[in-house]
Symmetry: C2
Subunit: 191 residues, 2 copies
C-alpha cells in the first residue's frame, strides 16, 4: 500500500540534484535518488516523475501556470511589457531561498550534459510559448506577444543566474526589476 | 574500401525525411535510410551523421557559420538589427528550392516527436547564441545582442514556415524582408 510521504517530491528533487552534482547525471540511478531522499523507494519516485531526467524539470508546468495566471489578471490598460513584468514577479515569488542552492547545482549539472541542455532549451521555449499565448489571450497581437515573451524569458533566466550565483540575502523577486529594466533599455537601441 | 558517393549527405537527408514522414521517426532504421538513398550502406550513413536524429539537424553548423560570417562582414556603421538583416539574407540564400519540400515534411515529423521538438528547440537556441556572439564580437552590447538575435531567429523561422507552406515561386530570400519588417514594427509597441 502506498504510504503518504511528506514532501517526497521536494526531497526527491533535492536529492537528485545533489547526486547528479556529486557523481554525474549518467552515473546516478533512480534507486539512489529515492534512497538519498530519506529512504524512499523507486515506486515513490515514479509516482512523482516520469524518469530520472524529468525530476530536473519538475517546475515546468507550475511555472507556466503562474505566468499564465499573472497575465490573465493584469489590468486591461497594461502594456505588453508591463504584463510580462507581472508574470516575472509571480514567477520569481515562487522561488524560495532553498531553491537558490538547487539552482546553482542544477546549472552545473546541465552544463555537463548535452541531453539536459536540449531539455533546458525546450523548457525555455515552452515557457516563452506559454507567456506569448497568455499575452495573445489578453489582446496582444501575435508578433508583439512573441517578442515580449522572448524578452521576459531572457530577463527571468538572467535574473535567476545572478541570484543563484550570488551569496547575498536578496530574494529572486528583488533581482528581477533591475534585469528587466536593463533589457527594456536594450530594446530602444536595437535599430 | 570506402567508395566516394556523390551527394551522399544530401541524399541521406532527403531519404531520412521522406521515411520519417511516411512511416514515423521511431519506426525508421538507419539501414532503411541508407538503402532508400540509392543503395548506400549504414557505414556511409555513419560517416556523415552521428545517429538517426542528427540527420535532421545537419544544417546547424553550416547555418551558424553563415550567420557569423555575414555579421562579421557587416559595415561598422550598421545597427544591430541591420546586422541581423544581413545574417538572415545570408541564411535564406543557402536554402535552395529543393529544401522547401524537405522543410515541409520535416515540420510534420518534428511535430509528432517530443524528442525532436527538444532537439529543435536546442537548435534554435544555438542559432540565437551564435548570432548574439557574432553581434557582440562586432561591438554590440551583450543584452542588445541577445535581444536582436532572438528577434532574428524568430524572423527566420517565421519566414521559413511561410515559405515551406506556400506553393508560389518566391524564394526564401524573398520571404524574409516582409517578416523581418513586421517584427521590427512589433518592437515599437512593446511598451
Amino acid at each position: 500500500m502506498a504510504r503518504w510521504e511528506p514532501n517526497a517530491r521536494e526531497r526527491l528533487v533535492r536529492s537528485a540534484v545533489e547526486l547528479f552534482a556529486e557523481q554525474g547525471y549518467e552515473a546516478t540511478t533512480v534507486t539512489e535518488i529515492a534512497e538519498r531522499a530519506g529512504g524512499l523507494t523507486k515506486t515513490t519516485f515514479f509516482r512523482h516523475f516520469a524518469d530520472k531526467r524529468e525530476v530536473l524539470f519538475a517546475g515546468q508546468e507550475i511555472h507556466g501556470r503562474i505566468v499564465a495566471e499573472a497575465i490573465a489578471e493584469a489590468p486591461a490598460s497594461a502594456t505588453p511589457l508591463e504584463m510580462v513584468g507581472l508574470a516575472l514577479d509571480g514567477l520569481a515569488s515562487s522561488f524560495t531561498e532553498d531553491r537558490r542552492d538547487i539552482g546553482r547545482k542544477l546549472r552545473t549539472v546541465v552544463a555537463h550534459s548535452a541531453e539536459l541542455q536540449e531539455r533546458s532549451a525546450a523548457k525555455r521555449a515552452a515557457l516563452s510559448e506559454t507567456m506569448a499565448r497568455a499575452l495573445r489571450t489578453h489582446g496582444v497581437s501575435e508578433l508583439v506577444a512573441d517578442l515580449a515573451a522572448d524578452l521576459g524569458v531572457r530577463a527571468f533566466y538572467r535574473a535567476f543566474d545572478q541570484w543563484a550565483s550570488s551569496a547575498d540575502s536578496r530574494t529572486l523577486v528583488e533581482y528581477v526589476p533591475a534585469v528587466f529594466s536593463e533589457l527594456k533599455t536594450a530594446v530602444s537601441v536595437l535599430e
